[in-house]
Amino acid sequence: MPSDTDNYETVVRERRAEKVAEFEEHHRGFMGNVQHALHVTPSLVPLIVLVASLILFGVLLGSRFFSPFALTLILQQVQIVGIVAAAQSLVILTAGIDLSVGAIAVMSSVVMGQFSFRYGIPPAVAVVCGLAFGTAVGALNGWLVARMKLPPFIVTLGMWQIVLAANFLYSANETIRSQDIAAEAPILQAMGAKFEVAGAVFTVGVVFMVCLVMVLAYALKHTAWGRHVYAVGDDPEAAELSGVNVKMTLISVYALAGLICAFAGWALIGRIGSVSPTSGQLLNIESITAVVIGGISLFGGRGSILGTFFGALIVGVFTLGLRLAGADAQWTFLLIGVLIIAAVAVDQWIRKVSA
């Protein structure tokens, strides 16, 4: 038996210019490359599901579905959910959840409307007030989550009820009519302005949604703030220990989410023409659905906002496709349920095959 005293460490004492260790690179080929791409780009999977569903309905419905008009209609129909889902993505990336998104959006639109009509504030200023309102509610959410350490689910559930009830009380349940807005405060409808490109009809709101997604995707990937959002969602304690200002990151995320929801409220006026305090009640569940179909983990820290965008579009494609195919409402509802599960199952399967 060699003695305990064998000075084995000398073997590694001098630093040798060692060849970088390399394992035999497993031959990849075409499928291998596909798998690798899927692995490093999480939003590719919902994109594939989206394209598949477009093809499916294209085959089923032909040119009724594959027209510029129909395809851009989908964009218009998902714009509000798309915008709100972008906000929801940010919050969910931090391992939170925001149940107040719908209420913030609606109340912001009511603020824009009532400030213009009830108090006669210049509409452009009223819009800014609406945006500020959304940001403030979001910041309050963030403050409660970050500083008071309350669970996001509870904070935003409570805030949802508070803002929604306040919305009904403040607006006295009155709808401001489209015609009046068009006459007196057209800027409120600015997000609804349409323009045509080769038969395809776009609205400012749709363009806004697309730009928003791109800007957020950039910010999440290429700025320090974005990396911190992921780190906070991944493991807040580790993030704190490694030097992230967790509290400020959280507050900024919730405040930004509030601001984006207020933009959604503005877009809502553009879409329906009027200011209606009863809008947006499904935005919570729809935005969360888009986020999760898009592959962002509800446990935070994983996924991409592009995925959310595709997730919203997938639901939009199925909804319009099924309606055009003549499914009645309950069957549409049922089939969308099946498809939500199926979309995620396909997602899991692709990930597994490409693991």
Binding site: M1, D6, Y8, V11, V12, A21, H26, H36
Partner: protein, 264 residues
């Protein structure tokens, strides 16, 4: 060790391959464990040691290759399958439920029930018995600085956690015990207790696989040393015929072993 060449290995791996995306963690790796021995596995960080023992204990399903136990090919689908076959493992990540107590963690998956009606029909756990057992096992390891056996594992210090994991494996392993760096976070005294425990276990006739970066410990305990490098078994050496320097030189690539494989 010539007497051992006659004996049939208890647990083997042949040609094991495991890839993670671009990384090949196991690259056609072989492995043998003989009855009653302490086999040490050494190698650089990232060499694939943990992956190897995960493949043997059902925690990872290898892409290629086969594992045999007692001469029969086995296909463990989960660590539970391996445990049922008598293979008990302390993973490097420890595998504990942070919010549960030390006792709960020690008995996870093989809880004791109260005798009689309460156990049989109400399926009630026998907490006092479980607590006593847990306390005794930790005492053996000199881990009595743990003040409360019902403390949540997340409130333990790093070393205390490792102690709990080792105590669990030693208490329940019946055929093979695998320890992935069991003393990494342990103090001098606690490490010593674990080494004693390993010898205790071997004296009960149960073979042990020990992964460790601590050469003096490896050379003190091991009957044979499996040197792992770049996802493969580079060689198996007899600690009586090699120095620690040799071992380190092999595993770091500073020296190439003379014969590919020493007679196992």
């Amino acid at each position: 060790m010539t007497q051992e060449t006659q004996r049939k290995p208890l647990l083997t791996g042949r040609n094991l391959v495991k890839r993670y995306g671009r990384v090949t963690a196991l690259d056609h790796c072989d492995f043998e464990l003989y009855p009653g021995e302490i086999l040490a596995v050494i190698g650089d960080n990232g060499a694939g040691k943990s992956t190897l023992i995960k493949a043997l204990s059902g925690a990872v399903i290898p892409d290629e290759g086969e594992v045999t136990l007692d001469g029969k090919t086995v296909h463990f689908q989960s660590p539970n399958d391996a445990r049922e076959a008598g293979i008990e493992t302390v993973y490097q990540t420890l595998a504990m439920s942070p919010a549960l107590s030390i006792t709960d963690n020690m008995f996870m998956g093989r809880e004791l029930r109260k005798p009689g009606f309460r156990g049989k029909w109400l399926r009630q756990l026998d907490r006092p018995a479980m607590e006593k057992f847990a306390r005794d096992k930790l005492n053996d390891l000199g881990l009595m600085t743990i003040q409360n056996i019902n403390q949540a594992v997340e409130t333990l210090s790093g070393g205390q956690r490792q102690g709990v994991a080792v105590a669990r494996a030693a208490a329940f392993g019946s055929k093979v015990i695998i320890l992935d760096e069991p003393t990494a976070a342990l103090g001098v005294k606690e490490s010593r207790r674990v080494l004693e425990l390993i010898l205790d276990v071997r004296s009960r006739g149960i073979p042990i696989i020990l992964i460790s970066h601590n050469m003096p410990h490896v050379f003190e305990l091991a009957d044979r040393i499996h040197v792992h490098r770049l996802g493969q078994r580079l060689c198996v050496i007899d600690p009586k015929n090699h120095s620690m320097s040799d071992a380190v030189a092999y595993m770091t690539g500073a020296k190439v072993p003379e014969t590919e494989l020493e007679p196992a």
